[in-house]
């Protein structure tokens, strides 16, 4: 029997993805473009929040959107209607967007003069949490009809996000949703997270959301290049 050797590796399985994500951040940094990764369940309101954000901010900022979907271009069409460039990534069954896919999309976007890129990730609370996309901040939406127990069921997603948008608060009066319990569960998983209540339908809370985003963009732009 040939001798058997044990080789220590200790290498992160997703190190290739992480390296590529860092490359994307370098490219964005050269143009001072801020990128936000927006995640949520299907139907949580990702597209609605993006459309609201565009309407509020497009006067002051130049925005582009990367749309991830298993199929169809309906979301990109809605964004383009607002006069904003959009790249649609059709993942053909993939459950998340990773850095290699985002790189393809970034190559299609003219970063010159751009301020903000929003990634609309695949509707899924599991897989997108594990893949660095090259974004600077991670945002997620929990919508009221989904229930206040979601932080218990998908702890990873809630623990990696910088901001949680609780959407569809116009449903609160008819839903079994305990806002205090939901927030408490989230903060226990992630004490530093910012939580913003909104309704993309009525527009309530959207200003607080765009203020948070503007503040983060400002911090990013003023940070010394690393």
């Amino acid at each position: 029997m040939a001798d058997i050797r044990l080789i220590e590796i200790k290498e992160d399985i997703l190190s290739d993805n992480k390296d590529l994500a860092d490359e994307i951040r370098d490219a964005l940094r050269r143009h001072k473009v801020f990128m936000l990764n927006l995640m949520a369940s299907p139907g949580g309101g990702k597209t609605s929040l993006i459309l609201q954000t565009i309407r509020q901010m497009k006067g002051a900022m130049r925005i582009a959107v990367i749309e991830g979907d298993i199929d169809s271009v309906v979301d990109a069409e809605k964004v383009v209607k607002e006069g904003i460039p959009a790249v649609q990534l059709k993942t053909g069954g993939f459950c998340h967007l990773d850095a290699s896919m985002i790189k393809l999309a970034i190559n299609e976007i003219d970063l010159t003069g751009l301020d903000l890129v929003i990634i609309e990730n695949i509707g899924n609370l599991v897989c997108p949490a594990e893949f660095d996309t090259g974004a600077h901040k991670q945002a997620m939406i929990l919508s009221v009809p989904e229930g206040d127990d979601k932080p218990l069921k998908y702890p990873m997603m809630f623990s990696i996000c910088d901001v949680l948008v609780i959407n569809k608060i116009d449903y609160l009066s008819i839903a079994d949703f305990d806002m205090d319990a939901a927030k408490e569960r989230v903060v226990k998983l992630n004490p530093g997270i910012k939580i913003i209540e909104v309704s993309c339908k009525t527009g309530q809370g959207i200003e607080e959301w765009t203020r948070w985003l503007e503040k983060e963009i400002k911090i990013y732009r003023n940070a010394p290049a690393s």
Partner: protein
Amino acid sequence: MHELSVTESILNIVLKHAQTNGAEKVLTIGLKIGELSELVGECIQHYFDYLSKGTIAEGAVLEIERAPIVFACTECKNTFQVSLSHTKDFTCPECHGAKVTLISGREFYIKDITIS
């Protein structure tokens, strides 16, 4: 789930290290995966068997060690383990403080390989 793309990464890393070390065959691959990750071990092995066909890693057995979810209390410095089925309560069992930081549970790396 994303086991397929993860398995591709595992195979690439393993082959790289196996070749550097002049391996003829990869026998086992030790993985450390945190309990917070939703990856299914059987699924990774299944994809691995498929992807590794015709390489020196064909037939290698994946040995997955799950790292427990461990928190550290920022107030009393106590560390404590929680199970995924009891994720309702993340308060410190010692001082009941709610300010806790995750120190284990998100691991996702290749520990080692055995080669011949």
